[in-house]
Each structure stands twice: as structure tokens, then as C-alpha cells.
Symmetry: C4
Subunit: 236 residues, 4 copies
């Protein structure tokens, strides 16, 4: 795959040791590293914020996730952890996984989720605070919405749910899980499609595979910037 | 050509197979790939949005256009389709072309159109909505206008027409075509020169060749940013 | 020089032919090419706008300037012209020089001017219009001012003069020249130090050599962004 | 270390001479050069502004700091100076060190300070002026705050102290030093944690090592942009 070749050419990435929990997953890991480099350059993953995972199996969950505290613009192949359904490394000697691992595990349990990307952008941060009291905000009328899987028209109404931030990640994961399974009867909204925001914290988006999750991140971040800049025109 | 050499060096692009509908057009395709990389980096072609074509023949139309759903920052030589006047691939086994192919075909029928570039920027999106009720907006007084082919003074008045978005692309193409041939008697405006906007969707620009079309895109996107930022100073 | 090595590595620049008006000046040209790549990436030289020159001799003027209509992000070694005091190519067979050549020639006649860089940024464009009726605006209190040659304190007052744009470049050059030699008796302002703006057109800055001129461009463009963003806070 | 390999690959950096005051420190210097390239690209270190140091020893201070007047996007291995507690080069024949060397020396005397990074961004400049009369401003509620060493919750309150700018750097260093040792009894604020602003001048941040200092810079600059953009929504 050309993306992987390119990533390796650019940073001269060395091979993982012959015996390593991540051997055999290099191509997936390299795609996540490419996400990291790209998001870092755009300012969506500064200061070791944000985290990315690829799901190997939904039930029971098995996934590979970024290790805690890594510079997302410089991810190495060994900056990832193989994690089980309990959110713990499957094999000893791996680095500590991201503090938000349980959010990834919970999302990975959902049908059709193959990759989860969390970004931490300025516009995502600002909107997640601005619209928090309203519980979220609607994206409507944008052609860019068609970049979300299953959306076929700009007239689609996408609700971006916002959750209050918490350092208790397992509890936060539970709150989000309720949102995922809850169909809003009054507004007839779909349960949390494609992504959501955590207040002053950023975006979680997912997709069937890494490419789709990345496309969803780009759709949301683009539209966040649209909404944020429009507010600068109209706020007083 | 140095641009092509460079593109290839940077991504180690492989040769197309010896028998392939696009063999012989590699140099044109590589210029479109370079547009993609550049526009993607600037945030004008995120999330597989936007599409680019080069016109091989005006009547009947023959063109090469980006395939549907490709990451514009990572276009490969095989991410393009050879298309005829009906908007369909000329040879079986090619990928699906962009959903907006018929807009490209219609534009390619016009005299002097050698390349068509569609971008999808934040400022283009915002202005296309803000000025939609007015039918468009005027660019005036900017030296940058001279980057548009045939414009020789900053005192030129460039009207940027805005069309309502539609998922019915053939019909949208027809509406735009009427705009292309319609000379506005009251304002004495030229029929759709250089480019136009689709509401909440972005810019279509063209030129005699890829370099000119790209220059036109850069002129419009630069001026969209000027107009958009100026609005942030003055709106209340 | 490492900057040049690097530039060449990145684009595999070929040597100029053995007999060529620019042979022997490759190192200076490569520094201008590096300016172009950098300014283009920052959005200060889009759409073939802007132009750069290095002065070989002040009296009579001899300089090397970008050819007309070149993509500033992709300048080749042969995208430059060797020009005499009349603004014309010194040797036949060279490309056409930039339309604004006479502004460069006039500036190159001044003492201590070794390089002239014209950029065309969004913020420069906006401020040059906003403050045009006032004749210019003052930069004061910024540490960044110390990046201007001879300035030793943030308490320095830098007047940024704005000239009305004109397609008559020789006449515009004459108007600017008057500004260069005119000491304002009431405000005790220095005659046009370091740079000036042309309305809706952008910045001209210069320095003893390319590095200094480039530093001056970066100082001005940084401060234009500061002033422009501050206006977005305060305008209504 | 892969970061260093990469830096060298990208600019073909040559080895220092066999006898040179900085021999043996190449790996640290290369990390600072990487900071420079990154900060320059983001616009936080334009026009030779800003300076970076790594602390070799706290008492008496021994550090390596950027030389005066260097382009931060192009730092070579010889663009650094080995400095003693008096702020002077330890060995003759080194370049002049940054004008703000004594601020680095003073900070390097503090416990746990292994690297000091000074950036000069647009948002830092604007906020340092806007909030100067208030003496500073508080960052609160942002998940990004957890990127600051020792901060474990977004509910942390981070005070960003602002000092009036001065060209008398030793005196400025003394004023800041008082701030570093001064515990505010009324607000119970910690003495200057992680970083501070100088009015219209920019950010000083530090950490145990270069990676931590860089993370702190990214946290502050990200949050400055958040605060600055929010002001554009609410100012009138």
C-alpha cells in the first residue's frame, strides 16, 4: 500500500523486533501513524493530546491503541499497545495505553466500528463549550456532510452530541454508551452517529476502518471550523 | 517537467501497468495529483471532497477525472477515470468517477476549458451561504484579480455567481450551463467567467490548462479569505 | 551553504546550461527560490502573485528578478531574469520579468538595498485597504519590531505607509520614490523604512541581503496578522 | 533516537568539527533544532525571534542556547552557544548568544528545569497585551491543561502571569525571578508554574527535558488560540 511505503520512507521507520505483540499489524499501525502526523500538522493533536485505535475484533474487544503520552507527530511503531476487553495490555512489557482506553473499548464493542480517532482541535474545543448547555448542535445544509458514511444529501441533519468532560473515564464511557443506544423519541435522532464531542476536550469519531474514521474526523473538523467562523461573524 | 519529477520523488509513485486506459497521460495526471496534495494541505480538499479533471478533447468531450471517494492528499495514478461525453468510463474496469462528473463534462464542452478544479474550502463554504440570497457577490479593487486570465487591472469587477446546491447533478449542470451562456443585460456581466460557487459546497474554477485552473483556484480562495475575514471585522 | 543544499535536495534542481545569463548566481537564486517556497506555503505568494529580486549593483542598477507569471512555490533556476537600470533584460532570450520590475529597480537604487521581496498576503491586503484613507498605520510596542534592522526597542514607532495601487508601475515607482526621500517634518518620521504597503496589493520590504529582506517580510507579516486579528476583537 | 535521525535526513546536517565546544551534545542540539523547525512552521518563531536552551547543569548553571539572530526554521548544529552562570560563552570563538540569555540562566537555576523554550506567536502576543493590566489570565476547564506536568484534571486553574516587556533583560530576569519564588497568599496561586508571558513579546515555558518543555509550549499556544478566538466571538 502506497500510504505505508510513503510513511516509512519519510521517517526511516525501523522494523519491530521479531517477537513483539504488534508483529503482523504493522500496516494498520502505519496508517494510524499517518493519521497522527497529519492531525498533528493541522494542530488537531498537539501536546501528546488525542489517541487513535484500530479494532481487531469486536466481541470480545481486541484493539491496538496509542500508548500514553506519545507525541502524535512522531509516532513510532512501538508507540502502540495491544489491548483486551478489560482495557489492559494483553501481554506484559507493553507501554501504558492512553488514559482514555475505556472509551475506545466501549466504542469498539459497537457493530461496524473498525477504528476510533480522537482529535483535540481548537474549534472542537470552542464549540464543545459554547453549545454544551444546549446538549449539542446541529449540522445542516453542508455538502461536506456527505463525507459521513450513509449520508447522501446535504439536507441531512447531523446532531453533534456534547458530553460533559470527566476524569473518570469508565464512567464517562458508560454515559456515552447510554447515548449510543438511546434513540431520541421526540427528535427522532439516530443514536450518536459517526462521532460526538466531549466538552473542552474534543472529538471522538469512528468508522468501519481507519480510512473511514479519518474521513469522518476531517468532515467534523471542517464543519466545526465553518460553524466557529460563522459565529465570529454573528456573535456580539 | 520538474513538477512531475518532484511529485514522483516524494511518493515513489509506481508506473501504471503497460496496458491501462490512462497510459500516456501520466504527466497530466501527475499535475492533478500535485493539485490534490497542495489543496489537501491547505484544507481545501478534505475528507475526499472536491474533484479535478483535465480535458483531452472538447467536442465530443473526453476527459480524465478523479475517481469517486479518493483521499485528495494521496492520489495515485490509478485514482483517475477516462470519461466520455456521456460521463461514463470509456473502457470497462475503471473505478467509478466522481459524483459530479456531469458538471465537469458540461464545463469541458465550453471553448477554452482545458482543466476544471473543484475545491471545498471553509471560506468558500461560508461565503456561498452568506451571499446566496443575493445570488452572488462582487470582487473589486484587488490586485489579486489580475491572476484571473484576461484581467489586467485591480479595478476589474468580478462577479462570483452562487448556485443553490442539489444532489441532482445533471440538473445542476443544466442550471449552471444556462448561467454560462446567459449574458446579464442589466449589469452587463460576462457569463460566469473563471469560476462560480455552489451553496455550502464550494468552488468550481477552470482554465486553458491545469496551471491556469490552479492559478484561478488560488485567486478565488485567497479573495474568499479576504472577504470572509473582512466580514468578521464588520458583522454584528 | 546548507540552505542551498537543502533546496536542491528537495526538488532535484538541475544545473543551468553552461552558457546562461544567470550562471554564477545560482546560490543567490536558490535563496530566492527558498523564499518563494516558504512564502507560498504560508499563503503569502499564491497564484503567481508577488516577486523577488536580489541586487547585484546599486549604480547603475543590476539585479536578478523573478520572471513574470511563475508559480512561486515551484521556482526553477531559470525562472529569473537579469535586468539592467532600464528594467529590461540585459541579454536577449531571457523570460519576461515581473510586471513590477520598475518598483524593484527604483528601490535597488537606494543605498543599502541588497534584496527586495514583495509578498501578497491576506492580512497585508486587508490592512492596506482598511488604513488607506489614513495614509498608513503605526506599529508600536511589539518586541517583534526589533527584527527590523536598526530597531533596538519594542518602544520604536514604525510607520507603515500605504500607497494607492496603480497599473502604471513606473508612475507608482515615482510616487513611492518621493516617499522614500521625503522626511515628514511634522511627525519626524523616517523616510519609508524597511517596507511599505500598496493598497489591496501587498507588502514591499527590503534589506541589505536576502536574509535581512526575508526577516523584514516575516516581521511585517507577523505584525499585520496581530493588527488584523486585534481588529476582529474590537470592530463593530 | 528516531527524531534525530529524521532531522538529519531532512537537512543533510554535517558533523561538527572534531574539536568544538558543542561536540558530544549533538543529540540535544538536534532536538532543539527540531523544535525550531516545528515552531517556525507554525508561525511561533518567525523572523529569528524566540530562543531555546537545554540545561546541562543547574548549579552553577551550564546550558546550551541558540545563538543570536538565527533563522529558527534552519538552525544548524553550530547555531548554538555553550554558556556559563554569568551568561557568557564558556569558550572563546563561539557565536554571540541570544539577547535574552539571562532569562534562560535565571530559569535554569530553578529546580527541575531541564529545558527552556521561548516562542513568539500571534495569539501569545495579542493576549499578553489584552490581559496585561489584569496582570495575567486564568486557564480553566480545558482538558488540554493536563498536558502540563503535574496537572491531573481539566478543573485545574492555571494562572498565566504577564510581565511588562523591557530591553533590560537582567532586570526583567530579576522581576520574573521574584514572581517565581513568590507565592500569592490571597489567591493561593503557585509560583509561576510551567510558563509565563512577556507583554507583546511571547511565551517562556520550561520542563524537565526538551520533550516536556515542548509539550508545555504546545499546551499554552493551543490554549492561547482558544482564548483568543473566543474573544473574537464576544468582544464588541
Amino acid at each position: 500500500m502506497k500510504q505505508i511505503q510513503r510513511a516509512n520512507e519519510r521517517d526511516g521507520q525501523r522494523e519491530l523486533p521479531a517477537i513483539h505483540p504488534l508483529r503482523g499489524y504493522e500496516s494498520l499501525i502505519d496508517l494510524l501513524r499517518l493519521c497522527g502526523r497529519n492531525f498533528y500538522e493541522r494542530g488537531w493533536s498537539l501536546a501528546t493530546s488525542s489517541n487513535y485505535s484500530v479494532v481487531l475484533q469486536n466481541r470480545p474487544v481486541e484493539l491496538i491503541i496509542t500508548a500514553s503520552g506519545c507525541d502524535k507527530g512522531q509516532l513510532g511503531r512501538d508507540d502502540f499497545v495491544h489491548i483486551g476487553a478489560d482495557g489492559l495490555p494483553t501481554i506484559d512489557g507493553q507501554p501504558k495505553s492512553s488514559a482514555e482506553t475505556m472509551l475506545h473499548v466501549m466504542l469498539a464493542e459497537q457493530d461496524g466500528v473498525g477504528a476510533i480517532l480522537h482529535t483535540h482541535s481548537v474549534w472542537g474545543t470552542l464549540l464543545s463549550d459554547y453549545f454544551c448547555d444546549a446538549g449539542g448542535f446541529e449540522l445542516f445544509g453542508y455538502e461536506m456532510l456527505k463525507g459521513l458514511s450513509g449520508v447522501t444529501s446535504h439536507l441531512h441533519r447531523q446532531w453533534v452530541q456534547i458530553f460533559e468532560n470527566s476524569q473518570n473515564v469508565p464512567r464517562l464511557a458508560q454515559v456515552v454508551k447510554n447515548g449510543l443506544s438511546h434513540k431520541d423519541s421526540s427528535s427522532n435522532r439516530d443514536p450518536l452517529p459517526h462521532g460526538f464531542l466531549i466538552r473542552n476536550h474534543g472529538l471522538y469519531a469512528w468508522g468501519r476502518d481507519i480510512a473511514e474514521a479519518r474521513r469522518h474526523v476531517e468532515v467534523f473538523e471542517f464543519l466545526f471550523e465553518c460553524v466557529g467562523r460563522k459565529l465570529a461573524w454573528t456573535c456580539t
